[in-house]
């Protein structure tokens, strides 16, 4: 009897017995993770809507025919080159971000600042490329609710009547600008947050705090933006 009671009275020390953090991660970082999960749902919904509309269409504008210019250099015949550049810029800025986090673990303030600035520059470069890409497509006649004239559209397809080509081009334009726009908005906010964090690092906020955890949290967001781009790149430019 007495042993049972003493067993009940015993303070439990398992991870889920309370009084400790079962995931061993700071609160703000967990919340960032769950925000990113919800954001992943939003992006998935958009991309799956794109996929199902494309599956249900008999013809679709060919990616290698729509995207074959390098703005300012080549107008035709260079499929995937420009978007390849954008992809490498974003991967590179993800790498500089993770290097900033790594420097933060060593409390190396100067290195954190350097890598954060590199990340911000990478973000701006990506946004600049995105603006050029949008500008080029807009110049060709694509926009929300508008597509190029029929004789231009014909070059993007390998079949289908004029009416079908018009319809699926319109679907393509709306989805492309909505999804890359939503992603670009994420890149934009990511750059703004990165700048704020860089200023905080420069002012010594995290040095005083003794931890560069905020750099890690904004890093999670930035990597997520890269992650989404990996999918956007595959489903809009490759498939």
């Amino acid at each position: 009897m007495s042993t049972t009671v003493s067993q009940i009275d015993e303070v439990k020390t398992s991870p889920w017995s309370g009084g400790r953090s079962p995931f061993n991660v700071e609160y703000g970082k967990i919340m960032m993770w769950f925000f990113l999960l919800s954001d992943a749902f939003t992006f998935s919904s958009l991309l799956i809507a794109y996929g199902s509309l494309r599956f249900s269409a008999s013809v679709w504008p060919g990616a290698d025919k729509v995207f074959q210019s390098v703005p300012g250099l080549v107008d035709h015949g260079a499929p995937l080159v420009f978007v390849g550049l954008m992809t490498f810029i974003l991967i590179a800025s993800s790498v500089t971000m993770v290097l900033a986090v790594e420097a933060g673990h060593r409390n190396a303030k100067k290195e954190v600042v350097g890598w954060m600035i590199a990340t911000v520059i990478g973000g701006f470069m990506f946004l600049g490329c995105q603006a050029l890409e949008w500008g080029h497509l807009h110049h060709e006649g694509f926009w929300w609710g508008s597509v190029p004239p029929a004789e231009e559209l014909k070059k993007l397809f390998t079949g289908g009547s004029e009416a079908v080509q018009h319809m699926t081009s319109q679907e393509f334009a709306n989805l492309f600008f909505t999804i890359t726009g939503f992603h670009g908005f994420h890149v934009f906010t990511g750059v703004i947050i990165n700048i704020i964090i860089t200023v905080n690092v420069l002012m010594g906020t995290y040095e005083k705090r003794g931890s560069y955890l905020m750099v890690e949290k904004v890093g999670l967001y930035w990597h997520f933006v890269d992650l989404v781009w990996v999918f956007v790149f595959t489903f809009f430019y490759l498939v």
Binding site: P15, S21, P22, F23, N24, V25, E26, I30, W33, F34, L37, A40, F41, S44, S45, I48, A49, G51, S52, L53, R54, F55, S56, A57, S58, D64, P79, L80, G84, T87, F88, I91, A92, S94, V95, M97, V98, V101, E102, H105, S161, A163, V164, M167, R209, G210, S211, L213, E216, G219, L220, H223, F224, D226, L227, V230, F231, T234, L238, V239
Partner: protein
């Protein structure tokens, strides 16, 4: 708060994400992207009959890239199993929507008889 969380966070992290590993993962991501470009620019245009195999290959390669970004750059591989599961299991809902809508969209084709 910060001192404690810093302490908590540092556990078992130091040896997991070194500079060397960062560059390794960056190299893998770049390599996979290069393979995708080679398939899209060199292989498929010369062998049109391979086109139907290209898309599944792109998707598998994309999932590999996603794994490396989430596991290493976002550091999820080194977190507690509870956190990993609570973030990975909800992906079931995304897979569910993919299955439902791709299946459904094959029937929408018949609903566009006008064209």
């Amino acid at each position: 708060m910060s001192a404690e969380s810093h302490e908590v966070h540092h556990d078992g992290e130091h040896d997991t994400m070194s500079k060397k590993r960062i560059w390794q993962v960056a190299g893998i991501l770049t390599f996979i992207t290069c393979i995708e470009f080679i398939i899209a620019l060199a292989i498929v245009p010369n062998h049109p009959d391979l086109l139907k195999y290209a898309n599944p290959v792109y998707i598998v390669l994309t999932l590999f890239k996603a794994f490396y970004i989430v596991a290493y750059f976002m550091h999820l591989k080194f977190e507690k199993m509870g956190l990993i599961l609570s973030l990975v299991i909800p992906i079931i809902f995304i897979i569910g929507l993919i299955l439902v809508l791709t299946n459904e969209s094959h029937h929408w084709v018949d609903l566009r008889p006008v064209f």
